[in-house]
Each structure stands twice: as structure tokens, then as C-alpha cells.
């Protein structure tokens, strides 16, 4: 049976504009580009899986092809679905662990000191490179001690005094690596008289989708849809996320790729800056003092795809004393777990090279971006610290209370 779910490939007029804007096709001719891997070959694969060309594994799912397409073809979605429907899964230990962020996160945060120490030992890095095919040159995010979820349950300041509340989907990165970002979000929202609710959430599924573990991704997604719907409670409550890719998954990939019904949360999920901006618009702007900071802003691909960049920029513009350089929008190359794999590492690095050069030229003190893996990539390739917009806001608010 031919699946007629996504027949947007029929709207492709073969103009090749997507391929022009594909960062992967620009750097390697091993990838024939989104037009060929997407709509061109979809009409063949749809009839006979024998005609699948495994070059589609090179797609990093940045979704810039969909932004560029003048004919509304969901090119990246076509490629992702083809990937996990047709490509033979090489059950690699690496892919398994890389996509099980909850499992690995819980283990790693249990003895975070040891994890962070061991992962940077030269023999370990060498072993990972040769056996696991995780590139030697890649640096890893530090693991925190304990989870953000644990902190929120036990140590988060009392939120019951706030009438307005937001459900916070913190995501794995805040949960296992960067508690501070989560705590900063609580500070920012509390300063705006908004309480924070956290739920017992699972990994949003982005790394699972990227590594082809669709059944597991579906399970996680179903769990999250249910948990978040339950938490919504009162009318007007929103779900916010500090990760651009998590929010993209909750809103779009659950329905488009995993074919789940996410209608109960679809119109309630906001990437955090959209929520903040809508609050700012009603006059709910927290008291702030100048941060005196010169920063470059890098817009992540998935936030571009969601149309969320304007909200981040407009939130940042409200922060006093922030001298902002907006970088030309381009992919940093990491694309989630893509840049952590040896076979794509060089491509990933060369995709980002121009962005790194532009950051160096911008003559700033820090870089601001919305995405945790963009942060890892930029911190590895430039000498700058990378902050989340919420962290800069939190700084301005703390300056005020000081």
C-alpha cells in the first residue's frame, strides 16, 4: 500500500533552490542534496524500497530546505521518514547510547564527577574514536550532579503563590547537564509573577528519531503528550521549553513524523521566548538593570523553521545594556547527534566554519543562542562562552535585585 500521508513531493517543481541552501550538500558531494534525496527519489521508494539510496543518511535534518522551498514541500520530513523506514539499522552501541539520553543522563549524573573526568581521559577518547566511532576531537558537555527534575521536586522555591502558571518542559540538557538554565528560567518567570510546574517528562525523542529508534520515540512522545496535557489544568496555561529542538518536536514532529495526535498540546507549546514576548507585550516585563554585555546572537535552524527567531531577538532587545550583534543565519553544523559521529564529523565542522569566523569577527564578549547543541558546537570551536537568552535575562533581573 502506498502511504499517501505526505504527498507534498508532488508539488516539487525541480527548481533546486533547496539544494542551494542545504549546508550538507554545500560541503560534501556524498549527499546529493534535499531535492534528490527527498521528492525525487520519494516517488521511487514509495513503490519499491529496493530503490532506496543510502546517501540519504547524510541529511542532518536541519530543515533549511523546507524554509527555502517555494512550493511548500516538506522535504526534510520526507527524508527522515525514508531514513527510518528503509535504511538498515546498524545496531551500533554508540547510536543506542547516544539516543538514550534519559538512561545515559541518569547514569552519568549519578557520579557526574567521575563521568566528566573519565570522558576526557585520552585513552577513553581514543577508545571512543576507534571502537565507538565518536570523533576524538569532539568535546562533550559536562554532566551535572543529580537531575534538574530532582531539584524541582525538592528544592524549587514554593510556586503555589503564583496565580498564573506555566508548565516547563525542561528537556534532557537542563535535566542532566545544565541545571542553572532551568533555575534561571524559574527566576525569570517568578520575577514576572508566573509560577513554574514541572512534570515527569521523558526525552522529547529528537535523538531517538535521528538515530532511527522510532518505536521508542513514539513511546516517549505518547508519554509526554499525556503528561503535559494532564499538567495543563487551568485555562490559559502554556507549556514552555528552553530548547528550540524539543519544542519543535512537541509541536511538529510528534504529528508529522511520529504520526501521533498531539492536538491537546499543539497550540499550547511555546518556545520560551515566544511566551516571554507575549507577556512583555501585555506589559509584564520584569524589572531589570543593565547587563553591560556585548553579545553575538546565533539563530538555531529549528528555531528558524518554527519562525521563532523574531521573538528571541525582540526579547533580547528588551534587556538593558545588551549590545547585540545579529549573526547571519546559518547552520552551526552539529545538528544534534550528527556532529558527534565520526562519519559526519568533518562535514559538521566544515558546515560551521563560516559561522565560527563570523563570530570571531564580531568582536563580542559572549555568544547567545537558543539551542543546547549549537552551544556545544560554538563553545568547542570558538573561545567564547555561549549563553541562553533566558540566562541573560536572569542576569539582568539579578542585577536589579542586587
Amino acid at each position: 500500500m502506498i502511504n499517501l500521508e505526505n504527498i507534498s513531493f508532488d508539488h516539487c517543481i525541480k527548481c533546486t533552490v533547496c539544494t542551494i541552501y542545504c549546508p550538507v550538500a554545500r560541503e560534501t558531494h556524498l549527499f546529493p542534496g534535499p531535492k534528490q534525496s527527498g521528492p525525487d527519489t520519494e516517488r521511487l521508494r514509495i513503490k519499491d524500497p529496493y530503490l532506496v539510496d543510502d546517501s540519504l543518511k547524510y541529511c542532518s535534518n536541519c530543515k533549511r530546505c523546507e524554509i527555502a522551498c517555494p512550493s511548500g514541500v516538506k522535504i526534510a520530513d520526507l527524508i527522515q521518514v525514508a531514513k527510518f523506514q528503509h535504511l538498515k539499522k546498524k545496531i551500533r552501541v554508540r547510536d543506542f547510547f547516544m539516543s538514550r539520553t534519559d538512561l545515559v543522563g541518569r547514569l552519568a549524573t549519578f557520579m557526574s564527577f567521575l563521568t566528566n573526568f573519565v570522558i576526557n581521559l585520552l585513552p577513553v577518547k581514543f577508545f571512543m574514536d576507534v571502537i565507538l566511532k565518536i570523533p576524538f576531537g569532539r568535546s562533550f558537555p559536562k554532566y551535572a550532579s543529580g537531575t534538574f527534575h530532582g531539584w524541582a521536586k525538592k528544592k524549587m522555591p514554593d510556586q503555589s503563590k503564583f496565580r498564573t502558571k506555566a508548565v516547563y518542559f525542561h528537556g534532557c540538557y537542563v535535566n542532566y547537564n545544565n541545571h542553572q538554565l532551568g533555575k534561571d528560567l524559574v527566576d525569570v518567570l517568578n520575577a514576572m509573577n508566573i509560577g513554574v510546574i514541572t512534570e515527569n517528562e521523558k526525552c522529547c525523542g529528537v535523538p531517538l528519531i535521528a538515530n532511527g529508534y522510532i518505536d521508542k520515540a513514539k513511546k516517549n512522545a505518547a508519554h509526554n503528550i499525556q503528561a503535559l496535557s494532564r499538567a495543563l489544568g487551568e485555562e490559559g496555561t502554556r507549556i514552555v521549553s528552553t530548547s528550540s529542538s524539543c519544542s519543535y518536536a512537541l509541536k511538529y514532529e510528534y504529528a508529522n513524523l511520529l504520526e501521533l495526535n498531539n492536538a491537546t498540546i499543539y497550540d499550547k507549546v511555546d518556545y520560551i521566548t515566544k511566551y516571554l514576548y507575549s507577556q512583555f507585550e501585555t506589559g509584564n516585563i520584569p524589572p531589570m538593570k543593565p547587563v553591560n554585555l556585548r553579545a553575538a546572537y546565533h539563530s538555531p535552524c529549528h528555531l528558524e523553521r518554527m519562525g521563532g527567531v523574531i521573538y528571541t531577538i525582540n526579547v533580547l532587545k528588551e534587556i538593558p545594556g545588551l549590545d547585540l550583534v545579529i549573526l547571519h543565519s546559518e547552520c552551526c553544523g552539529i545538528a544534534g547527534t550528527y556532529g558527534f559521529k565520526k562519519e559526519y564529523y568533518e562535514i559538521s565542522q566544515s558546515i560551521g566554519a563560516n559561522l565560527f569566523r563570523n563570530i570571531e569577527k564580531a568582536d563580542v564578549e559572549v555568544v547567545i543562542t537558543d539551542c543546547e547543541t549549537c552551544k556545544m558546537q560554538i563553545e568547542m570551536n570558538t573561545p567564547y562562552e555561549v549563553l541562553h537568552p533566558v540566562q541573560v535575562l536572569a542576569r539582568a533581573i539579578k542585577n536589579n535585585t542586587r
Binding site: 527548481c15 558531494h29 546529493p32 546517501s55 511548500g72 514576548y277 519562525g307 547571519h328
Partner: protein, 430 residues
């Protein structure tokens, strides 16, 4: 989101309008659904090219002033000659600030060569298509070499040469064709079918192989004064690469547009977008406007696919969503409509009248003249027939002109976009 001016459509018209608005300090956003028709254009700006009898128009501004403006319905009539002049110079200055200089022939049209080797009148061109040395060189009636890189399948020198030889303008030229090798071509062996103009433009941009390429050009040209190459002499560093290649070869280098995507058009797209961003404009890419609410002749807000239930508000709106190709207009079985606001459209109700019997008919096709009906200040009518005061329609969505038959698409897009911007600036100040 509260804007002074929100533009639906990020093509040449919307960007011209947006750049003018932000340069006057307005808060301006542009919503764009996929890349614009500039990616499929020649990269030259036509003002007015042909009389109704297909004769060439030599002085377009003069022609527009005397014969088109008095006619009344043409978009040019609504702008007026001063606005057209002002808009065109604003457009040139804007690109020049981004390092892309456009040349014109002292108010006369000049000719440019298409990928098929046909010759078309146009008003503004990039340096590789028209400049004083090309004009002087042309008078010498000497030898032309049209070259391609072997393996590039979006351009056919023999086809272009054959058509040029048939043209009386080129009857005294000796036209030869040839092929040269690109050093990096081997890199693409895996997927040669995706070897596009952009891949080669990036190789030019890197500057690495320029002396080698220049050598091959000279060797393959047999002492020709002109060398015609498919348009891919750099994208980000075009001006510099063009200069260096001219010096290295000592020849007059001429760029011929290729099959899409067009590097010549993309240079303009890049320059306009980067100017808009530099002035603080907000370009919102990859989103589709689904509709809006018009109350008492005022468009209150619009909503889009990505912004869900969030309403985007603005004092003024511009609809520059293009023609059929860009989905600014859609054709259904028995009607033509404007999909965003369902505005009143001028179009024949009889489907048989929409098109000409043959595809390349000289008179072009009637559907190209269909579009959204506006008053003299480019404001459309809603479904109830009320004029929408704060919405302006610009560019290819307008009716009563034929960009192909008249050769005026770029000029109309720029001058109506500029005209709307002036009206909006006026409106914001009062």
C-alpha cells in the same frame, strides 16, 4: 507582534518596500514562504521593453511617461513617472551599498543575452552583462567565444551561439564555442547530476583556481575579445572575482543566465536581504500567511502557519506575494483567486480565455495580466467590496500589465513596492 509595516512576500517588490520603510525608521517585518522568483530571474531589471507590435522600446522612461501612464490602468500609471524614477534609483543605491553595482545605458535600454541565445532589451544589469567597456567592445564587431565547463548541464553554448548567429545584431561577429575543465569537478563524481551553477559559483568564490581557469579561457577562446560564460562567476565575492578574472584573461567577460537557480538573481536577493537586516528589518522566512481579519475596511491582524493562534498586528500591511508561480494567485478549475484575503481579482471567468493557444506565443498569455484589483493608491477591495485602506498590493500580484509581453516585471515590482512604502511612511507620520 506590533509592526508599523508588515509585508507578505519577500521578493523584489516586498524587499524594496521593506528596505525603504526601515530606512525611514519604521518597524517592519517581511513574511516569506520559500525563496522568491529572483532565484529564477535573469538578474537584469526590465523597465519597459516592447511596443504592442513587438518592436523594441529604446527609451523606456520616456515611453512609460508618454504612452503607458496616460492609459490609466497599468501599475505604472498609479505610481507616476517621478515615483518610478525615484524607486529605480533607490533600488540601485540600495544594491550599491551592498557592493553590487547595476549599470544602465544613460536612460536607454541595452540588450542582454538569454540562455537560449535570444537577445532581450533591459534597463539595469550587473557589471558582467552591461558596462561601458562591454558597450565599446561590442562596437568592434570582432570575435566571441561562448564557453562552458565540461560536465555542467544547465547551459548549452552551441544552442546559444546558433541563435545569436541568426540575430542581425551579431551578423558581423565570429562566434565560436568551446569547453574548459574545472579543477574541482572530480570532487563531484559521486553525484554529478546535482552539479549546479551554485557549486561552480562557490568554487569561483574561493579564488583558488582563478589563474588556472583564466589560462584555459584564453586558450579555448582563439583570440576572441569577448568570452561568454554561464553565470557563475562568484556569489559572495562577485565584484572582486569578476575584476580579477577580467585582468587575468585580458578579455571582456560576459555572463549568460543559466537554467534555474539563477546566480545573477540570487546576487540581488542576497544584497536586498542583507541590506534589510542591516537596517534592523525582521525577515521571517519559511512561514505561510493563512489569512487575516478585515474590519470596516481595515486589516486588523494576520495569522500564519508557524505563529498559530498568535495574531500579527501592524498599522500597515503590504501584499507582495507574487503571481501564480509564487502562489500569490491561485487558479482553480473555474476561477482565479487571491488565497490570503480573498481579495477582488480581475480575471476572465471563462477558462478558455486564460491562455494563448501556443506556449511561446509572441502575445504571451492573458493570465499574466490577471491580478488583484486596486484603487489608484494600490489598496484592494475585500469580499464586500470595501476598500482596505491599510493594505497595499505591489508587484506581480497586480493586474493590467504583462511582464513578458511588455518586458516590465522588475520595474513594476520595484516602483509599486517603493510607491507603497512612500504611502506607508506618510501614513505613519500623520
Amino acid at each position: 507582534m506590533n509592526y508599523d509595516c508588515l509585508i507578505i512576500g519577500g521578493g523584489i517588490s516586498g524587499l524594496t518596500c521593506g528596505i525603504k520603510c526601515v530606512s525611514e525608521g519604521l518597524r517592519c517585518g517581511i513574511l516569506s514562504s520559500g525563496m522568491s522568483a529572483l532565484h529564477f530571474s535573469s538578474g537584469s531589471i526590465d523597465l519597459y521593453g516592447y511596443h504592442t507590435n513587438r518592436k523594441i522600446v529604446y527609451q523606456p522612461l520616456d515611453y512609460i511617461e508618454r504612452l503607458i501612464i496616460p492609459e490609466g490602468r497599468h501599475p505604472y500609471s498609479k505610481c507616476g513617472i517621478d515615483m518610478i524614477r525615484e524607486g529605480i534609483s533607490f533600488f540601485s543605491e540600495t544594491l550599491e551599498k551592498e557592493g553590487l553595482v547595476l549599470y544602465h545605458n544613460n536612460d536607454y535600454n541595452h540588450f542582454h543575452v538569454s540562455t537560449m541565445g535570444t537577445v532581450k532589451p533591459t534597463y539595469l544589469s550587473q557589471r558582467s552583462v552591461f558596462n561601458d567597456s562591454i558597450k565599446e567592445g561590442f562596437k568592434k564587431r570582432s570575435k566571441i567565444a561562448i564557453l562552458n565547463f565540461s560536465g555542467f548541464r544547465d547551459f548549452y553554448p552551441e544552442l546559444a551561439a546558433e541563435n545569436l548567429r541568426k540575430n542581425s545584431l551579431f551578423s558581423l561577429f565570429d562566434i565560436i564555442t568551446g569547453e574548459i575543465e574545472l579543477p574541482l569537478f572530480r570532487r563531484t563524481e559521486k553525484n554529478p547530476h546535482e552539479f549546479r551553477s551554485m557549486d561552480i559559483a562557490r568554487i569561483f568564490d574561493s579564488e583558488k583556481y582563478l589563474p588556472g581557469i583564466a589560462n584555459q579561457i584564453v586558450n579555448a577562446s582563439g583570440g576572441a575579445l569577448f568570452v561568454g560564460l554561464p553565470a557563475f562567476i562568484g556569489i559572495n565575492n562577485f565584484t572582486r572575482i569578476y575584476q580579477r578574472l577580467s585582468e587575468l584573461t585580458g578579455m571582456l567577460i560576459y555572463e549568460i543566465p543559466t537554467l534555474p537557480p539563477s546566480i545573477l538573481g540570487m546576487r540581488i536577493d542576497d544584497a536586498l536581504k542583507s541590506r534589510f537586516a542591516a537596517l534592523g528589518g525582521e525577515f521571517i522566512a519559511g512561514d505561510t500567511v493563512n489569512g487575516g481579519e478585515i474590519v470596516n475596511g481595515v486589516l486588523d491582524h494576520i495569522h500564519t502557519e508557524n505563529h498559530g493562534s498568535t495574531r500579527l498586528r501592524s498599522k500597515f500591511f503590504v501584499l507582495s506575494s507574487g503571481s501564480f508561480f509564487s502562489r500569490g494567485l491561485v487558479s482553480e478549475f473555474n476561477m482565479i483567486r487571491e488565497p490570503v484575503f480573498n481579495l477582488k481579482v480581475a480575471a476572465s471567468e471563462d477558462r478558455r480565455e486564460w491562455y494563448s493557444p501556443s506556449f511561446f506565443q509572441k502575445e504571451s498569455h492573458p493570465f499574466l495580466e490577471y491580478g488583484v484589483v486596486t484603487n489608484n493608491t494600490l489598496n484592494p477591495e475585500d469580499t464586500q467590496g470595501a476598500t482596505v485602506e491599510n493594505l497595499f498590493c505591489t508587484g506581480a500580484i497586480l493586474p493590467h500589465y504583462n511582464p513578458i509581453r511588455e518586458g516590465c516585471g522588475g520595474g513594476v515590482a520595484i516602483s509599486t513596492g517603493y510607491f507603497a512604502a512612500k504611502k506607508i511612511i506618510e501614513g505613519c507620520r500623520s
